[in-house]
């Protein structure tokens, strides 16, 4: 099982970040995937006339695109886009699952069913995921455990029957 770490409590910025990020997430995915279907003339027109703009981070991205197209051509650009898409999507999905896990555990914590707010089922890092993909020995893979709704229901039923729990938390509805 993965090592547990403490949850960072989501703030106003987290939700603002999600609401601003989601449109960009879908737009970025759509435009990068749609680039694969461009004809070679369109592709050449798009990437040979690439304009460098923005702050240092954005200019660095532009430079990366220009150099990749210059030295590796269409395949290089598609590989770069796919790689970055994979990284950004995994990061987004990972942090979304973390938010969901936080809310689930917080609900249990408020009801007194758990004593801490540790992240028990941490989403593995990208390097670990890639390592898992290429590891032949499956016994060495880190498991991404997940509690289903059924498991929660069973836990609730068990606690309803538990006499000690009823004695300790008489006012708690499970």
């Amino acid at each position: 099982m993965c090592s547990s770490s403490k949850f960072e409590q989501p703030t106003f910025q987290t939700y603002l970040g999600w609401s601003l990020w989601l449109p960009w997430f879908f737009l970025g995915n759509y435009f990068i995937i749609s680039t694969c279907f461009l004809t070679s003339a369109e592709f050449h027109y798009k990437f040979s006339n690439w304009v460098v703009s923005g702050s240092a981070e954005l200019k660095r991205a532009d430079a990366l695109i220009i150099f990749t197209y210059k030295y590796f051509g269409r395949n290089g650009i598609l590989a770069l886009g796919t790689g970055m898409l994979l990284i950004v999507d995994l990061e987004t999905i990972g942090s979304f699952l973390k938010l969901v896990r936080y809310h689930r555990k917080n609900r249990l914590y408020k009801r007194g069913l758990v004593t801490n707010l540790d992240d028990d089922y941490e989403f593995p890092r990208l390097s670990v995921l890639l390592k898992n993909l290429f590891t032949k020995d499956k016994s060495k893979r880190k498991r991404v455990a997940f509690r289903s709704k059924k498991e929660y229901r069973e836990m609730r039923k068990r606690l309803e029957k538990d006499a000690l729990y009823k004695k300790m938390y008489p006012n708690n509805r499970v």
Binding site: T11, Q13, T14, L16, G17, W18, L20, W21, W24, L27, G28, Y30, F31, I32, S34, T35, K46, W50, V51, V52, S53, G54, S55, A56, E57, L58, K59, R60, A61, D62, A63, L64, I65, I66, F67, K70, L80, G81, G83, M84, L85, I87, V88, E91, T92, S95, R125, L126, S127
Partner: protein, 169 residues
Amino acid sequence: MLKQTMKDVSKDAAINLAVQFVCKLFVNIANNDPNPAASALLKVSTKDALIAGLMNNDFYTDDKLVGSLNCMMALFSKAQEKKSTLLDLNVISDAGWQCFISLGARFALKNMRTTSQYKELVSLIQDKRKYDLVMDWMLKKVNKDTYNYLLDTFVEEGLKGLTEVKYVQ
């Protein structure tokens, strides 16, 4: 506190300006620009550097918030550079590409920072006394032939660059 924040922002903006210049310089050299440094200097944007300096402030703790603000900036700067509207699909597409590449690089670096190899390399580079250690580290990671080949290539390319500079002068 405001003074300290402004100090940090201006420091970040100065670094940002320098990196902007270097990026544009490399692009100009690759595009065979006759005067790469001058045109790179003209393209450096102080406004973008200041906004980026404000965004890198410790106040913003969420990666996605900074990322989406960066994407907004990409959209505005692309529209300005292409002299087009914000709703132009080409501009949105270019901004989406730029945004995903910069964010992907940011996330990849963030993931790499936790690996032992990266920590080892950074600690070696920060040790100013022993630059040779980096070479030793490289020697441990690759075999001797590859190491010699890499060194030869570096020397060869360096000499080629020097002769080209002499030829231009």
